[in-house]
């Protein structure tokens, strides 16, 4: 009885959300793409489907075959990326992690703690029929989650190419055409940007940390991959991945100054002074072209670091505009 009530509520919430996003301001929906109009109209109805027949077997981002017996109506997403993926295809999650602040609708979902150690009891307590976990942050939770006897689907992104894959996986699992739509729109957008990148690329340095202690993102990191697609000539390329997190490197100040970055993209990980403020005030950086031309930019930590994936379209466009404002606008 209880379960049905929850299911009905979830369905109603999902339906209203789909309706809201369909007439919302999402860039991809209003891009004027020929295919956008019919599919958007279709997703306004809660019965819109991607043609998935249940029981379904979906291969997730960890390469696991996930058996989903019936169309999920009660979804538990357990990382910032997983939550955003679920909402991005027009569904709702019963759960969220503590640090989630996007989308606003997700804030009313149950707080289950940190993504590294979510409360298994609270996840089970929401009686989900699908758990959506993070293939980058949470592979070590696989056994714990599978013990809950609920199908566990892993999505996530450590590179741009993972994003359309994750969208297709989640679209298929939840039987919503929004997954394929988002994936196609993202691939089209990347191709579109690639075609417009000028022949002479900007020399870019991407840094992450605090003004006093930061690491440079390699092209192999998520933000580094997005910057590569946006036409960055990454000055850290070829350096060893020797920072505490994969895909980042520790560069000496001399190396950085000598490499003369034209654009610096900064992700400040801690509250307080931002990296861009710190570098602009540092005399050692005074002659660096990016400082002289005021092209040090803070970029969103959630989009590029903490919740990589679902907002890749927004992220890619942001980077393209920062690197080539003359082509992509301010």
């Amino acid at each position: 009885m209880h379960r049905y009530w929850k299911a009905a509520l979830a369905l109603a919430a999902a339906a209203s959300l789909i309706a809201a996003t369909a007439c919302g301001d999402d860039e991809n929906d209003t891009s004027g793409d020929a295919t956008a109009a019919p599919t958007t109209a279709a997703s306004a109805s809660p019965t819109a489907a991607a043609g998935t027949t249940y029981p379904a077997t979906v291969t997730d981002m960890l390469g696991r075959s996930v058996e989903i017996p019936a169309e999920p109506v009660s979804i538990a997403a357990i990382s910032p990326t997983a939550v955003e993926f679920v909402y991005a295809v027009g569904e709702t999650s019963k759960t969220r992690t503590k640090s989630v602040s996007f989308p606003a609708e997700a804030m009313s979902a149950k707080d289950i703690g940190s993504a590294y150690q979510p409360s298994l009891e609270l996840i089970a307590g929401e009686a989900p029929d699908l758990i959506v976990a993070d293939s980058v942050l949470q592979p070590q939770l696989k056994n714990d989650l599978e013990a809950l006897n609920v199908p566990v689907l892993y999505v996530g992104a450590s590179a741009f190419g993972d994003v359309p894959r994750s969208f297709r996986i989640i679209g298929e699992a939840l039987n919503t055409p929004k997954g394929e739509e988002m994936a196609t729109a993202l691939e089209d957008q990347a191709a579109d940007i690639e075609a417009k990148i000028p022949a002479t690329k900007s020399k870019v340095l991407i840094v992450n940390g605090t003004p006093d202690d930061f690491f440079a993102a390699l092209p192999e990191s998520y933000v580094g991959d997005l910057a590569r697609l946006a036409g960055a000539d990454n000055l850290a390329a070829g350096q060893p991945s020797n920072a505490p997190f994969p895909g980042y490197t520790k560069l000496s100040l001399e190396t950085i100054v000598a490499s003369a970055p034209e654009v610096v993209l900064a992700i400040t990980a801690a509250p307080g002074q931002t990296i861009s403020e710190g570098l602009a005030a540092n005399p050692a950086w005074a002659d660096v072209p990016a400082v002289k031309n005021q092209r040090i930019h803070e970029i969103d930590a959630q989009i590029f670091l903490q919740a990589p994936g679902p907002r890749a379209a927004e992220g890619l466009l942001t980077l393209a505009k920062l690197l080539y404002p003359e082509v992509f606008g301010q």
Partner: protein, 340 residues
């Protein structure tokens, strides 16, 4: 030693019964209450009736999942870890005749944890069944190193304790080195070494319990020899005890128990140090009583500590090792001030 001095000699049974109820009944009641409370409380609270229904699979599937799949294996692992550490500490305090000895202080847990860290550094997704023997082997080699370093034609309790402290510092610095030079995924994999039972389930219990059961059995079998050893090396020899063999077996058993607890819960400090003192307070120095009673008390302490770690900042958790240290550190200070 805690029997009333004025007890009349003609009726020795009544105060003895009262003493036994106090010494055994209270710890057993504490342990039973710990298990029940730990099954009832967590990020959500369940009534005792729902706990029973969940255990017997008569209630809702959700109660079954929370009680049987999530909480019960974790509570049983806390029980196993607490019993192991307490028995290990009792053996080590007996062998070294030092009230400050325990598997943590003497470097056995650090040695087990270093073994696990190296294994995880080699492969971040190494399966749990492999970690238990790795931790046990690490603790054994740590024990061998401690024992070897203190050997000078024989092992004196003082040298054993001192070389243990040195080895503990060495291995702990080794773990720190591995941690700071690792990438994020390895650091995640190593996070539980700080002491915690997050996400432990039946798989982990199945791996751990044979080591714990074997170690506890060995500890009980050693208890008579431990009593004789407590008289001092010379008196023990004159009573026909093989002193070195007893010491080696006791240290090896302590290492096995420490390794088992490390593979299940990482480095949980102070349990092995504090509990034997509480046990001695209740039943005196007889290892035949002290070892089982310490195991019961240790089990109860770790279950309560893990419960606290789960509920105090729910839905997040604090590491179990921090809770036991918060309980153990003041007790250690009290011990230092009252016994020296």
């Amino acid at each position: 030693m805690i029997a009333p001095a004025a007890a009349p000699r003609t009726t020795p049974t009544r105060p003895r019964i009262a003493r036994d109820v106090m010494a055994w009944g209270v710890p057993v009641a504490l342990l039973v209450a710990a298990v029940l409370l730990a099954l009832m409380f967590g990020a959500t609270s369940l009534s005792p009736a729902r706990v029973v229904d969940g255990l017997l699979d008569r209630g809702t599937p959700l109660d079954r999942t929370i009680v049987y799949e999530i909480r019960l294996p974790r509570v049983l692992l806390a029980l196993a870890v607490g019993a192991s550490l307490a028995a290990s500490g009792t053996l080590l305090q007996g062998v070294t005749r030092n009230p400050l000895a325990d598997p943590h202080v003497l470097g056995l847990t650090a040695a087990g944890a270093l073994g696990v860290s190296i294994a995880i550094k080699i492969s971040a997704d190494i399966p749990q069944p492999v970690l238990a023997p790795v931790a046990a082997m690490g603790a054994f080699s740590g024990a061998a190193l401690v024992y070897g370093m203190s050997w000078r034609g024989g092992v004196s309790p003082v040298r054993l304790a001192l070389s243990g402290v040195a080895v503990a510092a060495l291995f702990t610095s080794g773990i720190t080195t591995l941690l700071v030079t690792s990438n994020l995924s390895t650091q995640n994999a190593l996070a539980w070494l700080a002491g915690g039972l997050f996400g432990r389930g039946w798989d982990d219990l199945h791996v751990t319990w044979p080591y714990v059961a074997g170690g506890l059995l060995a500890a009980v079998l050693l208890s008579r020899s431990m009593n004789i050893l407590a008289l001092g090396d010379e008196p023990a020899r004159s009573l026909g005890l093989s002193v070195e063999r007893t010491r080696v077996l006791a240290v090896a058993t302590a290492a096995l128990l420490a390794g088992a607890s490390v593979s299940a819960a990482g480095m949980v400090a102070f349990v092995g140090l504090v509990i034997p003192h509480a046990g001695r307070f209740l039943v005196g120095d007889d290892h035949r009583k002290l070892i089982p009673l310490s195991a019961i008390l240790g089990a109860a302490l770790v279950i309560y500590a893990d419960l606290f770690a789960r509920v105090v900042v729910a839905p997040t958790e604090i590491p179990l090792g921090i809770v036991t240290a918060a309980v153990g550190a003041p007790f250690l200070l009290y011990l230092v001030r009252s016994k020296t």
